[in-house]
């Protein structure tokens, strides 16, 4: 882990700017400061690759747009936050190791003790503490509440035993925020608590998972009698489930954004041109369907963004968005494989051009319907909570 640069606080209150001025401000700064070599990365980058961007944001004081200004954030309104996201996406900025900023910070601001806030928040903003998330377990995937990693109080310490899986970029992190079971006798969703654990605590083992696309974004994390001080508990004991659910609020609109599908469609076009099928009427017929599927996704997504912009809470119907976007993303990559001919077989990009890599994109698209709540779960949610279909 490199030593972090100092984080700054941006003195300006950007909420006072009109939207267009703010958008231009962000755009100019990003264009001037974003490292060109990591624009539009085809895979999720590791800390050693993305930290240069992290520190740029940290130094500028723009790392935490949603945090209140008193804690070092920008305190931006929802609509201004969305503008920032749009501009970052437009420029092709990578996602950095953002669990600290997106998950842990807001959690502590709402539920943390004064001491926790004072200790952790500055170190999140400076990049000193880099986080990963310990939620899923081998037998608690779709059914997350079935988690069994256990934390037992022993004097002033919790002793943790168990296993987490799909801990994104755990090998890059020096802290993990975990859901653990603190009451085995309570009902499933109860008896779960939130713990913050340094990754260098004895008893923690991290093992990367190689995924279908041969990437090592995810890990398994094992806990063998891992001891952490009880002050590392966030919020009330046995109330972790409610806090975790609230943190998931934004995830589905994020996973339902048209960006992935748009990226895949642009690659499909490039490939079709390369393969000489671009002008084929039957290809065009399928291509325009996908264009329209994205166009309508964009409109549907905009209606949810509008809800966020108004500061309202997203309902369970946002699961529709995640379902449609992820399956559309996959369909685009499937058509890419179909037209790639024998190149569909290749492990590496075609002709050394990373934008011509249909097999890679196809494999990268596979988990989209599994993570963030599998699409089967999303459909259950819509069926039960939106359509109000019965259980029996």
């Amino acid at each position: 882990m490199n030593s972090p640069a100092a984080s700054a606080r941006d003195p300006q209150d950007y909420n006072t700017l009109d939207d267009d001025t703010f958008r231009i401000t962000v755009r100019r700064w990003v264009e001037a400061n974003y490292p060109p070599e990591i624009r539009n990365p085809p895979k999720r980058l590791h800390w050693h690759e993305n930290k240069v961007w992290f520190f740029k944001l940290s130094e500028k004081g723009w790392l935490a747009p949603s945090w209140p200004r008193e804690f070092g954030g920008m305190g931006l309104s929802s609509s201004k936050q969305l503008i920032m996201i749009e501009e970052f996406e437009r420029h092709g900025c990578c996602r950095f190791n953002d669990h600290g900023v997106i998950m842990v910070g807001p959690l502590l601001i709402q539920h943390g003790t004064e001491a926790q806030k004072q200790h952790f928040l500055p170190k999140i903003l400076s990049g000193e503490y880099i986080w990963c998330q310990g939620y899923s377990e081998p037998n608690a995937g779709s059914d997350l509440a079935a988690l069994r990693t256990e934390a037992v109080l022993d004097g002033d310490h919790y002793v943790i035993n168990g296993q987490k899986i799909w801990t994104t970029l755990a090998m890059d992190a020096n802290w993990i925020f975990c859901l653990v079971r603190t009451d085995k006798n309570a009902k499933k969703q109860e008896g779960i608590s939130f713990l913050l654990i340094p990754m260098d605590t004895p008893g923690i083992t991290v093992r990367p998972i190689i995924t279908l696309d041969m990437h090592d974004e995810f890990c398994e994390t094992f806990f063998d009698n891992v001891r952490v001080p009880r002050e590392n508990l966030v919020g009330q004991v046995n109330k972790g489930w409610t806090m975790a659910k609230a943190l998931l609020g934004f995830e589905r609109i994020f996973l339902g954004a048209p960006k992935q599908s748009q990226y895949a469609l642009a690659r499909l076009k490039q490939l079709a041109e390369r393969m000489g099928v671009w002008e084929d009427e039957s290809f065009q017929d399928r291509y325009v369907r996908l264009r329209l599927d994205i166009a309508d996704l964009r409109e549907l997504h905009a209606t949810y963004v509008e809800i966020v912009r108004r500061g309202e809470t997203l309902g369970p119907d946002v699961s529709q968005l995640k379902t449609w976007q992820t399956e559309l993303f996959q369909r685009i990559t499937e058509l890419s494989l179909e037209i790639a001919g024998e190149n569909a077989a290749l492990l590496d990009p075609m002709e050394g051009n990373r934008e011509l890599h249909p097999s890679g994109l196809y494999l990268q698209a596979r988990p989209a319907t599994i993570y963030g709540g599998s699409n089967e779960i999303q459909r259950n949610i819509v069926a039960k909570n939106v359509l109000e279909l019965p259980d029996r």
């Binding site: 748009q262 469609l265 642009a266 076009k269 065009q284 017929d285 291509y287 325009v288 369907r289 264009r291 329209l292 994205i294 166009a295 309508d296 996704l297 409109e299 549907l300 905009a302 209606t303 119907d317 529709q320 379902t323 449609w324 089967e376 459909r379 259950n380 819509v382 069926a383 039960k384 939106v386 359509l387 109000e388 279909l389 019965p390 259980d391 029996r392």
Partner: protein, 353 residues
Amino acid sequence: MDAAEDRNESLRMLRDSAAAIAPRGGDLKRIRDLRFSEPGFDRAVWREICAMGWPGLRLAEDVGGSGLGMREFVALVEELGAGLVPEPLIPVAMAARLLPADHLASVLSGERIVIPAWQERPNSLDAVGGTTLSGGKVTGKKMFVPQAAGADAFLVTVQGGLALVQRDAPGVSLVLEQTQDGGNFGTLSLDGAPAEAIAGDASDALEEAALATSAYLLGAMDRAFAMTLDYMKTRQQFGRTIGSFQALQHRAVDLKIQISLTRASVEAAAATLDSVTVPALRQSAVSRAKARAAEASMLVTKQCIQLSGGIGYTDAYDVGLFLRKAMVLSNLYGSAALHRARYAAVTPEQDDE
């Protein structure tokens, strides 16, 4: 924020006013009784509709209209689609957009029904065709004229403009064919029929009619879906409510997604027509909405039949009325395939990103 809230409030009021003609959740007896009759709708109800000012909703107030936008029109038509209202609002509103001020009063009052006749071949959005007006006589042939049986006159698109032809004028022959929804299409043959020349071009009014048809389909599929959900919540088989079966639940969710996409697409297109004047952008938005509405309405209504089981296959079951309506409107004012092709032709690639 206030302007947006005001607008939402006025949309709500307009939707509520539609309940006078198409009571929400009301039965469909009136609709059923009018099927396969001539003209296929109720002239008295049409006068009520006119009394509420709907055919002139989009017209300026100084010519007797309400001066409202496509967003309002689309919201209203969606409600009428939910009630399967057969009165010819979409074609008459299209005619009203094209008629000069001095012809409007009798049309807006409901006294006379003028239906546009623009189409000369199947699967076409060409609003002009080969029909000619010369020396006050019009000659040509128009097809698929909707609810033609109820027309007092036709607003015929001709090369270089429009022509108003009275139904009972010499040289006018109208052949009617029944449609699955109980209405009718007319084939209008004009053989030197006397006509009044009207200046103008029907293209943009046609865009509005195509988008309104999408909204009608949206309302129809949404109501059919709601009726099917009700059925799924009550029908018992194997000791369980059929709506509790996960395979049916997931299928219902896929229909819901299509309805949501259609709504987003239709409403965005209406906003585009209200704010953008570039023809390509207007056409792009309308084609996107109609392509989605056409396919989604066919998918949703056919699945509603399947989810209803045997009863869904009886003519007596109301969900079938919605399927029949989708069969009639999906390909009218351009099929999904036609609109997809037009979308591709008029929409620059970078607009996707």
